[in-house]
């Protein structure tokens, strides 16, 4: 062969044959949204994905909504680097608070995940998907959506109600904020839809009939429907799967899925909860972004008030008696569950409902003392409605010292001004500001008054 021809040959052999189109790229990590829920397996995965959103870092995980709920109360102080947490402690938050903005969007992201499940599951054609299982998955999505709207309404008041999965940017155009009443009604409606669909079998990490009862009891407490609250909490308190209370107090957070838990969001070493990282000190692998304040430390260490609930805190300094960390979330392996509904709350809901309705004050006292007994503190002797309510308020503060009840309790009982020292003129702060970024992005959204 002549060299000249060889040259042509070399060139031609190098010219791209290009049978493969470089423009067709595929992913093994994503699927097109409309194809996400098509059979039993993908339906189950989408429900797991919805729980994942619920326990996500900005929701019940460690960085936004979770901390908001307890930092707003009067049990915490800020000891870290991110000052927007301090604004929560000091009640000086504004609409551009990072944690508030992230919470709002994380909750709606969870709602969208639930809406995807609710919209897709009825249409799934798969013989493997039994009716029981289909109902259960659907019921779980309704329950999660109820919890999400509950969290929205108690924190911001009436919010936009979105019940369909989002497919395009313009899907929400025209959806304005509903009233608080309408939002509460949505919570109730989702709970009522969930109950018949869900299984009765106890599952402390997933929704079932008991989780609906427990959340509904809390719903009636907030709505001040005392009789209903008593009925719903009774369903839990009469169930030997939950009562009597496990003792000592620390059992519920030292043991995963203890009898105390009606609903806890599970974490694992591969799917972590960052709350411990924010509570613990560097010596234990954390950053101690916040800590129990001196007031709650004093209460917890008082044997007549805190009792064995002092296990929630530990002193980390040999020289400084006020250097405490909270160890409700204590696992260095970061697999602490997030506690959403537990039995002690049901006792105190029933106690409050009974006290408020005034018909069963002794029952109220018994429920209160069930909690106090477990905490190894002297029994209460409160006898009047007012004394009982005051004792219950105090008990809730200590029993849920590092959990997110205090702020909402003080607001729903009208005690926040007095206890937190927030002036009446500043009462608008009881509803958190609607995030600034959202106000800018959503012409349908109006801010809460005062901000």
């Amino acid at each position: 062969m002549k060299l000249k021809n060889l040259g042509y040959l070399v060139i031609l052999s190098l010219l791209p044959a290009c049978t493969k189109n470089v423009l067709d790229v595929s992913s093994n990590q994503y699927v097109v949204d409309t194809q996400a829920i098509t059979n039993a397996k993908s339906a189950e995965a989408a429900v797991y994905g919805t729980y994942n959103k619920l326990k996500g870092g900005d929701y019940y995980g460690g960085t936004s909504f979770g901390p908001i709920t307890f930092l707003l109360g009067d049990n915490s102080k800020w000891t870290g680097s991110l000052n927007y947490y301090n604004n929560l402690v000091l009640h000086t938050y504004s609409s551009n608070n990072t944690a508030i903005g992230a919470s709002w969007s994380a909750i709606y992201s969870t709602i969208n995940a639930a809406n995807n499940v609710i919209a897709a599951i009825p249409g799934v054609v798969d013989p493997v998907l039994t009716q029981v299982n289909r109902n259960k998955l659907l019921g779980e999505a309704y329950f999660i959506r109820a919890l999400a709207y509950f969290d929205l309404v108690k924190t911001w008041g009436g919010v936009p109600i979105i019940l369909k999965p989002t497919r395009g940017v313009n899907d929400g155009v025209g959806v304005k904020r509903s009233t608080a009443e309408e939002t509460w009604a949505q919570v109730k409606s989702d709970l009522d839809l969930a109950e018949p669909l869900l299984l009765a079998a106890i599952d402390r990490n997933r929704a079932n009939k008991s989780t609906v009862y427990a959340l509904r009891a809390r719903y009636y407490l907030y709505r001040q429907e005392w009789a209903n609250a008593e009925t719903e909490s009774g369903k839990i308190l009469n169930d030997p799967n939950f009562t009597p209370l496990v003792a000592p107090y620390s059992t519920f957070f030292k043991t995963k899925g203890s009898k105390e838990s009606i609903f806890e969001l599970a974490a694992s070493t591969s799917d972590q909860n960052s709350l411990s990282a924010n509570w613990l000190s560097p010596a234990d692998g954390g950053v101690r972004q916040w800590a129990p304040n001196n007031a709650i430390v004093a209460l917890l260490r008082d044997p007549n008030i805190g009792g064995n609930r002092s296990d929630l805190i530990k002193n980390i300094s040999a020289t400084d008696p006020n250097n405490f960390v909270g160890i409700l979330y204590y696992r260095g392996t970061k697999d602490d569950p997030a506690y959403i509904l537990r039995v002690a709350e049901q006792f105190l809901i029933r106690a409050e409902a009974r006290a408020q309705s005034g018909t069963n004050l002794s029952g109220a006292l018994a429920d209160l003392n069930a909690v106090r007994t477990r905490a190894n503190v002297p029994l209460s002797t409160a006898a009047t409605k007012a004394d009982l309510l005051s004792a219950i308020e105090q008990e809730r503060r200590v029993e849920f010292a590092l959990e997110g009840h205090r702020w909402y309790d003080l607001i729903r009982t009208g005690r926040a001004n007095a206890v937190l020292g927030i002036s009446t003129a500043d009462s608008y702060k009881f509803l958190l500001p609607v995030p600034l970024n959202d106000l800018k992005a959503d012409p349908d959204l109006i801010p809460n008054p005062g901000y």
Partner: protein, 1075 residues
Amino acid sequence: MIRSFPRKIQFNETAFNWSWRQFHLSIKSCKTMQINYKVLPSLWHSTLVKHLNASIALIIITVSATQQAGASNHNSGYFNQSFQKSNLKIIPVHGVVSATTGETLPGVSIRIKGTTKGTITDIDGNFSLDVPEDGTLLISFVGYVTKEISIRDQQQLKIQLTPVSGNLNDVVIIGYTSQRRSALTSAISSVSSKELNNVTGAGFNEKLAGKVAGLQISPTSGTPGSAIFVRLRGTTSINAGNDPLYVVDGVFINSNSLQSITNGGQITNPLSDINPSDIENIEVLKDANATAIYGARGANGVILITTKRGKRNNASTINFGASWGVAKAAKLWDLATGPETAALLNEVWTNDGNSFATRPYRPVNEIINGVPGRGLPEEQKTYDRQSIVFRSAPVSNYNLSLTGGDAKTNFYLGGDFTDQKSIIVTDGFQRSSGRFNLDHNFTDKLKIGTSNMFSYSKRALSRIANNTKGILQSSVHTPSLLPIYNADGTYNNTVGIFDNVYALINNNNNHAYGLRSINNFYAEYAILKNLKLRTSWSVDYNQYNEDVYYNSQIADGKPNGKAINAVTQDVLWTNEQLLSFNQSFNDVHDLNIFAGNTVLSDNYRQQSVTASGFPSDQFSAISSSATQVATGTKTGYGLRSYFAGINYSYLKRYILDANFRTDASSRFGANHRWANFPSVGVAWRVKEESFLRNVRFLDELKIKSSLGLTGNQNINNYASLGLSQAGQNYLDSPGTSPYQLANPDLKWETTRQFNVGVELGFLKRFNIEFDYYNKYTSDLLVSVPIPAKLGFTSTLKNAGSMSNKGFELTISSVNVKTNSFSWNTSFNISHNRNRVEKLPVSFTQYSRDWVQVAEGYPMYSFWLYNELGIDRQTGNAIYEDVNKDGKITASDRKIVGNAWPDFTGGLTNNLTFKNFDLSFLFNFSHGNKIFSMNRYFQEHGGVRGITWSFLASQLNRWQQPGDDAELPRLTTKVNPDGSQNYDFASSRFLEDGSFIRLRSVTFGYTLPKSLTQKAKIASARIYANATNLITWTKYSGPDPEVNTAADLSNASVQGLDFANPPQPRTIIFGLNVTF
């Protein structure tokens, strides 16, 4: 092929193209020869001269010498001349001409001044010429400064020529073709290898600082091998990337860091895989006409890197270089001492309304509520942690290269080993690299070649900057009064939020290993003499292995150790075909046409394993752990493109350039997959007009302009699709959830750029180039916030526009030029005005909301409370009440400045005196703002209590009514108007970041030839170099150039300084030897 050499021979231009060696042999054996050439190849020419009086009996030469440009022009005339007779004694002079680099120069013109008589050097740079005894020789060569030498009875001459920078005849590579600088219509800057190696640094890009007008280069940290902020003519994008496209020897390379483990905001510079000493030349393509040929990737400019190749017919040489030195931080943070800290905290206590008696730093025996005092302020000790973390770091570099070539083949073999320790005790960067470049004429029509680089880098890393568990925060931010050890000798890390500094140093185990292979193979076939087809195949293989182990002694490793291993791989394949045609018609019309296509495919994979629960600190292997969590990612994109260009010049006076590229990218929506990028440029060389041709002082006057479109496609690979993602698990079962919304209309960002420029050269000394540009980017890919009620916070849309307008001025001059002394100066300055022209919604960047992107303002704008001063009576800070509602709320925040410099530039001076050389480079930036996060956190006024140290500057606080202090009253309380004195996004922390830096000084000495030749050394030079020797700035931090959020997507934040190690002052000594 010609195998024998006839006695009689005729050379015709149309005949077979002989190589020089064949000609050389035949001339020796010929008695009669006839040459019919328009231009005699210069090597033939010199050989003819040599043999003119020797063996050849008759030579008939027909050379049309009239219209040829360039070097051959005046030479060919020689054959029509006879020797000038005179009464002077004619002496035979022999000489050798070499470049200052030591390499001999063939084809150099030697002419006797005042005559047309002369010769040119042969292949070894030698020449012989009969010269009148009082004669003066004019030695000239393209690309070098012309030299005059008077003979004065010397018969042996050694002549060195100095290269000219910015010479009009330099060949400039522009995309797929090359042009003489004089024929350019574009704005292109070149940097040579010599200029590059005057600065110490791991990557070539950091060495470009201050050298190219319009190119902004800022290291993001003082750690070697870490990311460099590079912006060419501003920023064109918010979300789609702003880094220029890098092309090495025709290979598109990845310039994104493959780092996956976060290290406090710091990322690596993937370009530091490339050995800078292998680089011959760097071209920076700036305007649309130069970059449009890169289509959808050209909007941010293109940086072309050409590595060294051997020269044909050149003796093989070996070059060895070595340098050793030391790096040290020039400035660190000035912290309040222990007693000062305690006194400040006591003041906070009383200012907050507490009683003096209960102050925290009171005598130990004053026990209140069971709490003893912490001791009086003056009893506190000061613990300096900075001296523990910072050190004087050794740096060294060795490089070796072999180069050479014969008539058909040339090669370059190079390698280097670089070891740069960081000024942070735990950190360092090492690189070993090798290069092999080869070109070979397989036949006379087929040329093949290859360029290959392989490099291995090793980084020792630690978490610095914005990481509370990192080593720098531990050393700088831990209050100085806190002891490092507890009384029992254990690490004290229980108070505060930072880990213990010794724990971090002694237990740091954080390494990364990079593998890089950049390979190109090409074949070029001359279908016709002027028509060439070239095909090239390239791959850039990148691998980055990270290996981190936090043992149980440090916070991240609690309780039982944690290890992360990650392997990231990016493979970028490119195939290109190029058909090019070059023709000159009667020397009136010069035409250059090309067309081609590109197919590009990128594949990215990442696997990472996080292991925890180790039996003890002795175990660090993943397999030793109790729990392992793995993640994996695979993604990719593809591009298919066609392009064409034409360059036409008429009488070398009027030049027209046009380019076109059409691209399809897998990243874009189905509705907009293909896009077209045209450009056009014109130039008028006014100097060549008859009315200026005889203006002697003017060397060049050219006016040029260009207009074109370029694109930017750097967004996530599947950005246009509505997706649901996996990995959203619960109860360790697989879960999926919605990930992003679909946008089938997603398309490229398009940048329209207009450029107009003037080039002026006069007195053979001065060259001035001025360019004005106006860039307008539309269809900006913006991650637009959408109502969160939809379940998504943002979606990517083409929904904005941005402009960049500016000018660039480069002045170079030859100040002094004598045989023994020369002095050249080059100065450049550029100005860019960036503005976000349209943006549907403003939004903030970074985890703190201080940096905002808003319509009508530049990128990198700071959104703060504007502090007006301090109330002398109350000591409270006064902030501007923008909405006049009497309260200071978020709506009173406004944009108070930005991180853009008004001007940047550099000044280079090169001086040589005899064998000594001195060069120094200043670079400067003026008008850029820096938000000092160190001050924000460390002038905390007590808000952060004992968890955070104070800067010494905190002492300048207001103390009593009437004080005119810099800082407000210490307090943790909120002011009556709702504002706070401290821990508040105040403009107080925004500082002027202007600086002038003596970026490099090099002083060298080339050993005399007489000495080196004895040792058979062609040349040897020793030198000393100082990098970052002096910085003049008003900025309070250690370094005005670092950026803490370098790892933020697309470096969309600038001017935030937070516990970043400063760029060190480095002093090295080195030598370069050529054999």
